[in-house]
Symmetry: C2
Subunit: 185 residues, 2 copies
C-alpha cells in the first residue's frame, strides 16, 4: 500500500501475497477498507512512538522539534537506500488518493493528522514558553506539517530525498526564527 | 479521477460513463495510463493559462504572487460550493497515489510541477528585483508550492477549504516578509 497505493490493490492480491485464503481474510477484516484502517493504525502507532520519543528528549523544545523534522528527512533517505524508492508518507498518500466514498479511512486519517499537529503544537507552545519562538498562531503547527508533507510529495515524485534538505530552514521561517535569508547555493 | 483517484477506476467504467465502446477507447488511447497523461496535460494547460494570466497582471510581482495564491484558495472554495467536496489538486493527488510502476505519468507530473515552481520562481525573482522580498534561495519557490500542496491535502482530507485561510500569510513567512507574528485568533 505504501509503494502502490490503495485503489490498485485488491483483496485477492493481498491474500495471494500473504498466502492466505479469502475466507481467512474476511474472518479478520470486513473489507479492504477495514484492513486499511488497521494498517493506518499500526503505521501511526509505530510513528507516534518515534515522534513522542524525540519530543520527550531533555533538550530545549525547539531542538526537539528540529530533531523530529530532521528524523522525517532521514526516514525518507533510509527508504530510498533500502527500498530504492522514496515512498513518501503512507498517511498523506492515502489522504490524497481516497475520497468521500472511503470516509471511514479518511476520518481515521484526519484524527491521526490532528494528533500529529497536536504534538507539534505542544512542542511549539513549550518553545514559545522558553522564549525561543514568537507565540505561534493557531495555524502555525499545521503549517509546519503541511510544509513537511508538501516537500515529501516532491521527494516522492522525483524519487529524491534531497528535496527535503531545506525542510528545517523552511520550518524556521514559518516559525519566524530564521536568521539568515541569503542564498545557500 | 479528480474525485475518486486513479487506481480504483478501470477502462470499462470510463467507457460506460462516456458511453463509448472499449474499441473506441483503445483507438485513441493505448491504456488508462495514456489517457491519464492526456487528462493531466489538459488539466495543466487550463491551469497554466490561469496562472500565467494572473502572473502577467500589471502590478508589483509580490502582488501577482499573492493573487495567484489567493486564487488557488478560491478555487478549492468554489469546488466545495459547486461539487460539495474539496477535491484538492488533481496533480498532487496523482503524484501521491502513483508509484514507480506508473513512471510515464510520474515523469509528466514532475515536469508540470517543475513548470509550476518555475513560474513562482520567475515572479519571486521579479519581486526580489523590485526590492519587495530578500533574494530567494534556490529552494524558496518550491517551498511555496509545497506549502500550498500540503495545506490543500489538509483541506481535502477535512473537506474544509477554510484550512487554506492562512496560506498567503505562511507564504510571506517563507519569503521572509511577514510583518506581524502575533496570533490572529
Amino acid at each position: 500500500m505504501l509503494s502502490r497505493g490503495y485503489g490498485s490493490i485488491g483483496v485477492a492480491e493481498i491474500c495471494a501475497r500473504a498466502d492466505v485464503r479469502k475466507g481467512s481474510f474476511y474472518h479478520f477484516f470486513e473489507s479492504k477498507q477495514a484492513l486499511t484502517i488497521a494498517v493506518v493504525d499500526a503505521h501511526w502507532q509505530a510513528q507516534r512512538s518515534a515522534w513522542t520519543a524525540v519530543l520527550r528528549e531533555p533538550v530545549p523544545a525547539l531542538d526537539r522539534l528540529e530533531r523530529l523534522f530532521r528524523e522525517q528527512v532521514e526516514g525518507q533517505r533510509r527508504t530510498k537506500l533500502t527500498a530504492g524508492a522514496v515512498h513518501g508518507c503512507l498517511l498523506a498518500n492515502l489522504a490524497l488518493e481516497l475520497s468521500q466514498q472511503d470516509s471511514p479511512v479518511q476520518e481515521r486519517l484526519e484524527e491521526i493528522f490532528a494528533e500529529q499537529v497536536g504534538l507539534v503544537q505542544a512542542a511549539l507552545d513549550d518553545a514559545a514558553h522558553e522564549g525561543a519562538v514568537p507565540p505561534p498562531r493557531p495555524s502555525t503547527a499545521r503549517s509546519l506539517v503541511a510544509q513537511l508533507e508538501g516537500l515529501v510529495l516532491f521527494a516522492k515524485l522525483s524519487n529524491d530525498p534531497e528535496v527535503l534538505n531545506d525542510l528545517w530552514e523552511q520550518a524556521r521561517l514559518l516559525l519566524g526564527v530564521a536568521e539568515d535569508l541569503s542564498p545557500t547555493a
